[in-house]
């Protein structure tokens, strides 16, 4: 039933414009795999190549060992859920769900059985005779999900299925999708540009930028150990600082340009003395202290559980051209609250911060805390 998807050296071109560059990904059987990236990076394009709605210019896509490049979309046995639901407006909920079964020449009783099971699974059995115009967005999306899964597809594809729903419903539906996906155990490719949604729902995430994969990993790892500066700043927020490596015996130190030094024990052995690096510090990885990096508080925003401070560092400490530099303070764990204009000293959490090569392309720190 469910399959392993291998995407090998795939290229997509629109005219002379290459949208997907030589992309390779392996999506395991039964996994909920998310394509995440900024708008226009090619998520939808890649998904539609898997679905068979976009041609594949180069490379192959395989379901298990079967190359599907030349199989037309209607023969690929794929379930698809669309951003705008795409529920057939001239059919009832039940008719929508049984639509895909009818073409599969199943017996009437088998169809009824499967439809009822499915409607129960998505909690829509009481609406089965309604027309879509009388359903809310969330309900329509449940119908769309049921319709896609009921055919027992090899692969389930979802393109921003929640982006037309309001914030609260989005959270509710994403856990419903996750539960249902796990229950039927179907290989799923999920597209979103909402990073929180991606982190919450996925088994693994591929972060894509301009048609190339930046990192493929489990949500926690992507957040904790982003592969490069792009991922570090795209997923969550990262403050970036100039730094260089000092070797003292077997000790490896990072020195900020202000002179502040920290010792790291998770750097690889092949770093060299004086090597320039970029230090990535997430807002929650700062710790107020008596010494460390000096910063002035430019702005304070109270966000309930957190207080977010916008920081100003002396010239040359942080990388130029960053939109904002942030420090966030967990309200539950602190009793000092700073004011706008205060000058404070911040240390960094050595175990959590990331060290990137000077060009920002790789993370030198590889270890990840087990979760």
């Amino acid at each position: 039933m469910s399959v392993n998807i291998s995407i090998e050296n795939v290229v997509k071109k629109y005219g002379s414009n290459t949208v997907i560059h030589n992309l390779t990904l392996n999506i395991s059987d039964g996994e909920l795999f998310t394509l995440l990236g900024p708008s226009g990076c090619g998520k939808t394009t890649l998904l539609r190549m898997i679905a068979g709605f976009n041609s594949i210019e180069e490379g192959t896509i395989k379901f298990d060992d079967r190359v599907i490049n030349d199989i037309p979309a209607n023969k690929r046995n794929i379930g698809m859920v669309f951003q705008n639901y795409a529920v057939f407006p001239h059919m009832t909920v039940k008719e929508n769900v049984e639509y895909g079964l009818k073409v599969r020449k199943l017996s009437k009783s088998e169809i009824d059985k499967r439809v009822n099971e499915m409607l129960k699974l998505v909690k829509m059995q009481e609406f089965k005779d309604r027309f879509p115009e009388m359903l809310s967005g969330g309900q329509q999306q449940r119908v769309a999900l049921a319709r896609a899964i009921v055919i027992r597809p090899d692969v389930l594809l979802m393109d921003e299925p929640l982006s037309n729903l309001d914030a609260k419903l989005r959270i509710e539906m994403r856990s419903a999708i996750r539960d249902i996906q796990k229950e039927v155990g179907i290989t799923t490719v999920y597209v979103t540009h909402d990073q929180e949604e991606a982190l919450a729902i996925s088994d693994r995430i591929a972060v894509i930028k301009e048609g190339t994969v930046q990192q493929v990993d489990r949500p926690y790892n992507i957040y904790a150990r982003p592969e490069n500066v792009f991922v570090a700043t795209f997923i969550g927020h990262s403050n970036l600082f100039n730094g260089n490596i000092l070797l003292k015996g077997d000790k490896k130190l990072i020195q900020f340009s202000s002179g502040y030094k920290i010792e790291l024990n998770n750097l690889p052995p092949d770093v060299s003395e004086g090597q320039r690096v970029i230090v990535g510090v997430r807002p929650e990885e700062f710790i107020p202290a008596d010494d460390g990096l000096k910063a002035k508080i430019k702005k304070r925003v109270f966000l309930g559980r957190y207080i977010e401070y916008e920081l100003l560092f002396p010239e040359g400490i942080a990388l130029p051209n960053q939109p904002t530099l942030k420090f966030s303070q967990d309200v539950g764990k602190t009793n000092i609250i700073f004011n706008e204009g205060d000058v404070i000293c911040l240390k960094v959490n050595e175990e959590k911060i990331n060290i990137f090569t000077e060009n920002g392309m790789h993370n030198l720190v590889k270890d990840v805390m087990p979760v």
């Binding site: 679905a51 709605f53 379930g79 795409a86 073409v103 055919i151």
Partner: protein, 552 residues
């Protein structure tokens, strides 16, 4: 690395090729034949400009062109003068019986113009009811209705609805805050209308005016029936082509080509204006009709009701006339169903033909429209672009021109169709395709492509998906367009009158020939049947489209 393509020979590729072949046969080939014929010297058979030189040097002919322009310019001006105020009044003010008036206006717009012409002859003609009344009772000779004046009268009251519909549509898209702002700045009501609203709807008026111009310059029935010797182009073309004495198909074809040039220019101007006028905003607060009272209300109502009455008089006249008692061709005292009995006895075939040809054409029109709409909206390519362009041709081929083109193309090997019902059905398809095609494309734009993709991913082939999902969802738009195509197909005269033979006569043609031989009772009975069919179709249209008005 293997390069793969999904666009192989699928269902839509076959449809594309099928449609291109169809168009080549029924449209491109006849148009081409017309060209060849128009540039052929009738005596020597060689290619030359003889026909065109003859046209522009002989007063008898080029006068026809001047007449056509005179008529169309006058009609256009009059239609604007009548249509714009009605459009404004009906949108800005609460008018009693607006819904009913709208239906009457639509009926008069959709009824064939030759019925209008013929019923004005019945009323004001040499032996007309009103003429006789004034002559016998009052002793006054009424001015003649034949010629220029008559053509003007018929066209104006038949075509002003185009302006009305365009203008009221445009007014509804103007945000009321705009005119309120002007009035709050101290601009009086009429000054606001003149300074603010008029400039905004001017492009719309222009677009409507071109439509009126195009309709009046290409119509054949009206000038033929009421023009009496006032020669305009379609009449010249017709008599040159079918004329027993000294007619020349080549010369007729040349004149037809001149018409095509004119209509093509008009069509492109119209399209240009329609495309540009999009700056008229879509409004959040459309103009709401305001109540009016007193003398203003009286004047406005009087104006509207008089215009609509004049517009609808022809339909009432023919219905009334159809029930008059007749003996032979002469009206007798009292009422009877004799005219109806006569037509069912003698012209039953024409009635049958009308519905049969109409229905056949509509079925084919629906199929073609849905496929073409799908190709041009969903499958853009050079080929579908070509189809789209060819599908425009009917707009610039006046009926009589198309009739000639079809005859020239299909009265010899390899395909002899002259004198058959097929050739008439063909002309109806070509002439009336645009209505259905346009409404089919319009509705397709509102159907999300992901519905089709959902169906395909669920295992239905693109062809099955089209029939199960797309076609089904397109239906309301297709049907409302098809009803317009149907109404105009059963009332088609200008091409049928060139293509018909005894066995393929239609009601429109029969009405025309009956009027020519002064058998007014039977003509009226036939017209009544047509009018009733139109009204019923229109009511179905209104029910289906849910819209309160017709889009043209």
């Amino acid at each position: 690395m293997k390069i793969t393509k999904l666009s192989k020979w699928d269902f839509w590729a076959y449809v594309t090729v099928g449609i291109i072949i169809t168009f080549m046969v029924i449209l491109a080939y006849p148009t081409f034949s017309l060209f060849v014929s128009g540039f052929k010297d009738p005596s020597s058979g060689l290619f030359s400009l003889t026909n065109f030189i003859k046209f522009f040097t002989k007063k008898y002919y080029y006068e026809g062109l001047i007449h056509s322009f005179l008529v169309s310019i006058s009609v256009t001006l009059l239609s604007v003068i009548i249509g714009v105020p009605i459009g404004y009044f009906m949108t800005a003010f609460k008018i009693r019986g607006k819904r009913f008036l709208d239906i009457l206006i639509t009926i008069s717009m959709l009824s064939p113009p030759f019925i209008g012409a013929y019923s004005w002859v019945l009323l004001l003609g040499r032996n007309g009811i009103v003429t006789n009344f004034f002559k016998n009772t009052v002793g006054i000779e009424t001015p003649t209705i034949y010629g220029f004046i008559g053509i003007l009268l018929v066209f104006t009251f038949k075509l002003f609805p185009y302006i009305y519909i365009y203008v009221s549509g445009a007014l509804k898209s103007i945000d009321v805050s705009l005119s309120e702002a002007a009035e709050s700045l101290g601009s009086g009501h009429w000054r606001t209308v003149l300074n603010i609203i008029m400039p905004l709807i001017l492009p719309t008026i222009l677009a409507g005016a071109l439509l009126v111009f195009m309709n009046s310059i290409t119509d054949f029935g009206t000038p033929m029936l009421i023009g009496e010797g006032y020669r305009v182009m379609p009449v010249l073309i017709y008599s040159e082509f079918v004329g027993e004495v000294g007619g020349s198909a080549n010369f007729a074809a040349a004149m037809a080509l001149i018409m095509v040039v004119i209509t093509a220019v008009l069509f492109m101007m119209q399209k240009y204006i329609v495309n540009r006028k999009s700056y008229v905003m879509s409004s959040l607060h459309p103009m709401r009709p305001k109540p009016i009272t007193g003398i203003k209300s009286f004047m406005v109502h009087a104006f509207i009701y008089i215009v609509v009455a004049i517009a609808i008089i022809p339909q009432l006249t023919v219905i009334y006339t159809s029930f008059l008692n007749t003996k032979g061709q002469v009206f007798q005292k009292g009422f009877s169903l004799r005219s109806y009995i006569t037509i069912f006895d003698e012209l039953g075939l024409a009635i049958k033909n009308t519905y049969e040809f109409g229905a056949t054409a509509i079925v084919i029109i629906i199929i073609l429209s849905m496929f073409i709409a799908y190709l041009s909206v969903r499958k853009r390519s050079a080929l579908t672009g070509l189809i789209d362009t060819i599908a425009m041709l009917p707009y610039v081929l006046p009926g009589s021109v198309l009739g000639i083109a079809l005859l020239l193309a299909f009265n010899h090997e390899p395909l002899i169709l002259s004198g058959t019902g097929t050739i008439i059905v063909m002309s109806l398809i070509i002439r009336r395709l645009p209505y259905t095609l346009r409404s089919s494309s319009a509705i397709l734009y509102q159907i999300s492509p992901s519905l089709e993709e959902a169906s395909i991913s669920l295992g239905y082939s693109p062809a099955k998906t089209f029939f199960k999902i797309t076609a089904r969802l397109m239906m309301p738009g297709v049907i409302s367009g098809a009803i317009l195509s149907w109404i105009t197909a059963i009332t088609e005269l200008s091409s049928s009158v060139i293509l018909y033979t005894g066995l393929t006569k239609t009601m429109s043609v029969a009405i025309y020939t009956e009027v020519i031989r002064a058998s007014y009772g039977t003509a009226a009975a036939l017209s009544t049947i047509l009018t009733i069919t139109i009204v019923i179709s229109l009511l179905i249209f209104l029910k289906i489209s849910g819209d309160k008005e017709i889009k043209i």
